[in-house]
Symmetry: C2
Subunit: 447 residues, 2 copies
């Protein structure tokens, strides 16, 4: 069995699985419309959108997106009020539910083993007249549905390939490919194989414009012009790193197709012994900043963690440390891990002053440092005065203990860090036991 066939045999839903899904969908749509009518809300025709509507969902995923379109003249307040009213009625039969927020609130519920988003929207006449971001989705749905018939399996293979290689998902934690983007790629290139083959030639600045109607310059590495909106880049959320990784795995696959790219063996958590090995073979210094993860959703958490990681790196570099690598991880705790060339710097720091001939600046530099107790030496180098002075923070841990709170890292993370944090160095990282964190450390030690 060739690789693609094998993948399909594992990810394509069985007729039974499909039937079960369709039954639930039918039930929900009818309930929504009937409930609306019963509540006196006129003209509601709810619809299924997303991969379930297009036959591009992989076996085992049970995500349903039910949209409840309101007439355009509805006010935003009315939309939120009546939309949620209807959804809450349905939720009475759900196993559980919660209110979630995008641009406006919607209801997420667990319903007969399906994960259902029930989203009120405005029934606008075209995608460039949307009143809320979610209003676009029905247009995406129409565009894809009309073109994907007969090549749904290609989408399934590409989705699984992206999941297996860690680039699937447009949420802020992953910054990868969305389902819609995946479908557009299949529509553009015709098959999984052709997407892979073409992606090998991608480079930053690649533009895909199915309708040839793009009207705006974009700065993201990949630009896929939204067929329903000439101003929008569907790949705007794709990070440079995920873009590069996708090219990389496509090239690997093209050279040597392997089922492992679709279904990689789970990474084994690093053992204590392996952590110690990692430290002793690299002889660099590891520093982990550990604190209690605040209770916020991933789309808020990860951007703040990214910001924190960047500003901790900047802080360390500002004080003379050389950062080799870093990463962020969140489980019960949130952890920013930094690999430094060394966590200790010499006590001496070269403090370069003004040129000898800039007398005004020179005089204040001289009066501060020449013959001062704080200066080990004072001399002229390349025309500038230089004082060899005492470094304020020769130890990275000390710097982080004193200055971490000055790092910019978003509201909730700042609050969390102010409540307390620990800085662990090298072998003390073995005290961190969460398995998924130990997997994250694989970044530094290939099996």
């Amino acid at each position: 069995m060739n690789v693609e066939t094998e993948v399909l045999s594992r990810v394509k839903p069985s007729p039974d699985e499909k039937k079960r899904l369709l039954l639930v969908v039918e039930e929900l749509l009818q309930k929504v419309d009937a409930t609306a009518a019963r509540l006196g809300i006129q003209g509601i025709r709810s619809k299924l959108v997303g991969s379930a509507a297009r036959g591009t969902w992989t076996s085992g995923t049970h995500d349903l997106d039910i949209f409840i379109p309101f007439p355009v003249h509805t006010t935003r307040d009315e939309l939120e009020k009546y939309g949620l009213l209807i959804a809450r009625e349905i939720a009475k039969d759900a196993d559980s539910f919660e209110e979630r927020y995008a641009e406006h609130p919607y209801l997420n519920m667990q319903y007969k083993r399906f994960d259902v988003d029930m989203v009120p929207c405005f029934a606008v006449d075209c995608a460039s007249n949307i009143k809320s971001a979610v209003d676009r989705t029905p247009f995406h749905n129409e565009f894809v549905k009309e073109r994907i018939r007969g090549i749904e399996d290609e989408v399934l293979k590409l989705k699984q390939f992206m999941k297996g290689t860690g680039v699937y998902g447009s949420e802020l934690r992953t910054q990868g490919f969305s389902g819609y983007l995946t479908e557009l790629l299949i529509i553009r290139y015709g098959s999984f194989k052709e997407v892979v083959s073409n992606a090998c030639d991608w480079r930053p600045g690649t533009v895909i414009d199915l309708q040839e109607h793009g009207s705006v310059e974009h700065k993201e590495p990949l630009v896929v012009v939204d067929p329903t909106d000439p101003k929008r880049n569907v790949a705007a959320a794709l990070s440079a790193n995920r873009f590069a990784r996708f090219i990389d795995v496509c090239c690997s696959y093209k050279e040597k197709p392997s089922i492992d790219l679709f279904f990689p063996a789970p990474e084994r958590p690093l053992t204590d012994m392996e952590i110690l090995e990692m430290i002793s073979e690299r002889k660099s210094s590891f520093v982990a900043i550990v604190f209690r993860k605040p209770d916020i959703v991933d789309d808020v958490l990860y951007p703040q963690l990214d910001k924190m990681e960047a500003s901790v790196r900047a802080l360390l570099e500002q004080y003379g440390f050389i950062v080799l690598n870093s990463g962020r991880w969140a489980g019960k705790e949130a952890i920013v891990t930094i690999e430094l060339s060394s966590a200790r710097l010499p006590c001496v720091k070269k403090h370069r002053g003004p040129p000898v001939w800039e007398r005004k600046h020179a005089e204040s530099f001289i009066s501060k440092y020449r013959g001062s107790e704080d200066a080990f030496a004072f001399y002229i180098e390349d025309g500038n005065y230089v004082a060899d002075i005492k470094r304020k923070f020769p130890a990275a841990k000390h710097l982080l203990d004193e200055r971490l709170v000055t790092c910019s890292m978003g509201k909730q993370l700042t609050e969390a860090v102010k409540k307390g944090y620990t800085v662990l160095e090298n072998e003390d990282i073995c005290n961190l036991k969460e398995e998924d964190f130990r997997r994250f450390l694989r970044k530094w030690k290939t099996e």
Copy 2:
């Protein structure tokens, strides 16, 4: 007694000292002319040049420059032959003598406690027609003599100020101010005090052109156009560092005149204890490369040492070490001393490969490092492949032991280093006992 008066009382030769000098000069000039005539060499009128001829020599210096001018039509071979013939005759009455080489050979002798250079030259008609570099000297002599009368004492003060602050001497070891340059400065500004005051406003690019006839652009920090040759910069040998230092000491003196700048207390050699203190308070790493000084003159030795210092710094930086300071010293041994942020680097080295989309380069990088035993990790960063590989030289000493001979450092130093060298680290530097080397170390530890 004010500072300048006191300085003069210590550096101005007494009438007796002057008389002794004039007697010896008279004796030598007569001997040269008589010897020439006796040997059948016609029309030689030897002359005294340099500071002795101009009354700008400081007490205790006993340097005499006797020039033997030959007619312009003389060949270079004849000049060398007959010039040395005459000089050697005089040297028969000297305590000792040796042949030295500039553009052509001349004789240096110790004669009645005077250090005498006896230099054959061509009697050209103007300084722009010189046949040999030394031919310029008589023109310099005439120019200064005519203008220095009455302000010789100002030259004495300026010379002593430059000696005391370490910027006097145009040889390649010091790269400071020559005697002629010092005299031109006094002629330009009129007095020691005015030179100091004006130098405080100097900056790179300052031009002094007494004859207003400069005809060439120069790139050196200070340009003093030779009054006898519009194309020549008298300050060409002045290094940027000595230039800056002179400005610095002039500003210090202007703010607070002090006799110590003219006659500084001798620097005290660092004791073993002070060396250990210097290392432990800085917590940086010191490395000293020690080898037998080859038997060559300073003007050959120091440029090669400078070259060696620069290329050792470059070697260390190329392999990832951070150089803080360095210096070179020569006594019986020659020593290049380097202060590093750390003499040890982590074993891991980030090896940045090509961007993911440069497939040709990418493939060779991948085949070399992905999954290789030599790579701790392989990943994508900012669009580039990166391999965390084993660093070849984590220890500076090991690098220097293996690669010092590849450094470019001039012919004689390369030979000397190939014969053998030692690399000392930190406290082992205490094994170096020469007092003057211990004084050189003051650079790192102010008293």
